[in-house]
């Protein structure tokens, strides 16, 4: 099986949890730093003023949301190919992180839209596509919640994750086309050189946060599975019978 109980003795578990805690603190400090840098070096936008600074969370969240989906796709494929439970757990962890990022993205998009255009939602191509992606993530997670058998859950999630990932570029493309027909593009410019540095460093900081989240979630899932396997061992050990 994919998880070895050897690496989960009490001492090593506590050790890795402490290390994880320090890593987490470090990463969040890093993120706060990059945010502060980006906010202080960037000039208020002509039209949007300081509201523009929301971009430093919104845009990196968008990029990393896509990366999370990519991770889901890769590990789903790997699971279908190799059948190792570990791959399913990583994909699920990535999906959860991706769902959170997408939710964040949508909320920030709405917060940005209200003062800019006076309405909460504008059917902007990228935001709308993100909304669809959010539902795809959530569908994946709800499917997992409703299936008890671990093999079935892993296999179904992998198939759903892969097809979902396939749909991501298709959704983006078709929604963008749909919007260009009815209304000109309305999202803020992200290529202004003033903002690029801020965006880049925050994107990297968010990526590190994403990796941390996925890793952390995977570790807890691993621990659950290890507990499961102890349970298995107990169940099999006391069986008796002529083959024992």
């Amino acid at each position: 099986m994919g998880v070895s109980t050897a690496d989960l003795t009490m001492a090593s578990a506590t050790q890795s949890r402490t290390r994880g805690a320090w890593a987490g603190i470090g990463i969040f400090v890093l993120l706060a730093l990059t945010q502060w840098i980006a906010i202080s070096i960037s000039v208020p936008d002509r039209d949007m003023g300081h509201l523009q600074k929301i971009m430093y969370v919104h845009v990196p969240a968008a990029w990393n949301m896509m990366i999370a989906y990519f991770v889901v796709a890769i590990f789903s494929l790997r699971y279908l190919w190799k059948g190792q439970e570990r791959d399913d757990l990583i994909a699920a962890a990535a999906a959860e992180s991706g769902a959170v990022l997408t939710g964040l993205l949508l909320v920030l998009g709405m917060i940005w839209a209200k003062p800019t255009w006076g309405i909460w939602w504008t059917w902007d191509a990228r935001l709308t596509s993100s909304a669809v992606l959010f539902f795809m993530y959530v569908g994946y997670l709800i499917l997992r919640a409703f299936v008890d058998d671990p093999d079935r859950r892993a296999q179904w999630s992998a198939a759903v994750g892969l097809l979902g990932a396939l749909n991501v570029p298709i959704v983006y493309m078709s929604v963008r086309w749909w919007r260009t027909l009815h209304q000109p593009q309305s999202s803020p410019s992200t290529v202004d050189p003033n903002y690029v540095i801020g965006l880049r460093i925050n994107a990297i900081a968010f990526l590190i946060v994403l990796i941390y989240f996925i890793r952390h979630r995977y570790e807890s899932a691993k621990m659950e599975r290890a507990a499961d396997q102890l349970h298995e061992r107990a169940a099999l050990a006391t069986r008796g019978g002529i083959n024992a």
Partner: protein, 265 residues
């Protein structure tokens, strides 16, 4: 015993096919590779519940094995794994040498599984159900009248299955099984919902398959209905085989059974 016969499941040993003559009984050892079905340390879980917790057994060609046990002991799961309906969580199983996971299609071609639920389409007639089965099996429907007659449903061919009693549905399932000419029969409580004529029919079919070199595994609640059909009965309890008794003609057979990898007669 033959001096150079090496037996058992000890490392480095192998089952030797041959005959051992003892004063009161003749023991014939079947080579494991020639078995109709083998299971090695098969486990199967459903969520947190372990239905099978390490089952190893062999069904030799020409053997009819009964499986007894309380509800929830794992009997149906055993059959379902051998039929390739589900995969084992751990361990391996082979049917006529083909692995149930890796060569599932080859196994399906040789196995017929009679489930305790009918597995039929209620809105189709008996004939239509069989015709569907023929097309799915890739055979033509020439034998449909013959198998219907065999199970005593020759006059109900056009009737919709929804109108059938449980016994009639069971007969139709049996008819479908006969279309296949299986080599391994897996019967899950075949005697339920059956009158004596139906029970005799099931046993006839089992005898037929056995005489052609096939084998059968029958899950049952009481051995009575099987008459003297069973060569061996395994008792499952909580997902493990607890006894595997031959009939009374071979005293001490269980002990020898656990030493020898193959089947004893």
């Amino acid at each position: 015993m033959k001096p150079d016969a090496r037996v058992g499941e000890y490392p480095g040993s192998r089952v030797v096919a041959g005959t051992i003559r003892l004063p009161t009984v003749t023991l014939r050892i079947t080579d494991r590779d020639d078995a109709a079905a083998t299971m090695t340390s098969v486990t199967r879980r459903f969520g947190r519940r372990w239905a099978l917790r390490g089952v190893s057994l062999t069904i030799a060609r020409g053997e009819v094995v009964g499986v007894e046990g309380h509800n929830g002991s794992g009997k149906s799961t055993l059959l379902r794994i051998l039929s390739t309906a589900i995969r084992p969580t751990g361990g391996t199983a082979q049917v006529f040498g083909e692995d149930v996971v890796k060569n599932a299609d080859a196994v399906r071609a040789q196995v017929a599984f009679l489930t305790h639920y009918p597995g039929l389409y209620d809105d189709l007639s008996a004939e239509e159900n069989l015709r569907f089965a023929c097309r799915m099996l890739g055979i033509d429907g020439a034998r449909i009248p013959e198998v219907l007659a065999r199970v005593g449903l020759e006059r109900e061919g056009r009737e919709i299955v929804r109108t059938f009693s449980a016994g009639m549905q069971r007969r139709l399932s049996l008819a479908r099984l006969l279309l296949q000419r299986p080599r391994l029969l897996l019967l899950d409580e075949p005697y339920n919902n059956f009158d004596p004529a139906g029970i005799a029919l099931v046993n006839d079919v089992v005898r037929e398959v056995r005489s052609e070199g096939g084998a059968a595994m029958i899950v049952l609640h009481d051995r009575h209905s099987a008459g003297n059909l069973l060569d061996r009965v395994a008792t499952l309890r909580q997902g493990v085989v607890h006894e595997s008794s031959d009939d009374e003609r071979a005293p001490g057979a269980p002990l020898l059974q656990s030493l020898v990898g193959g089947r004893l007669t």
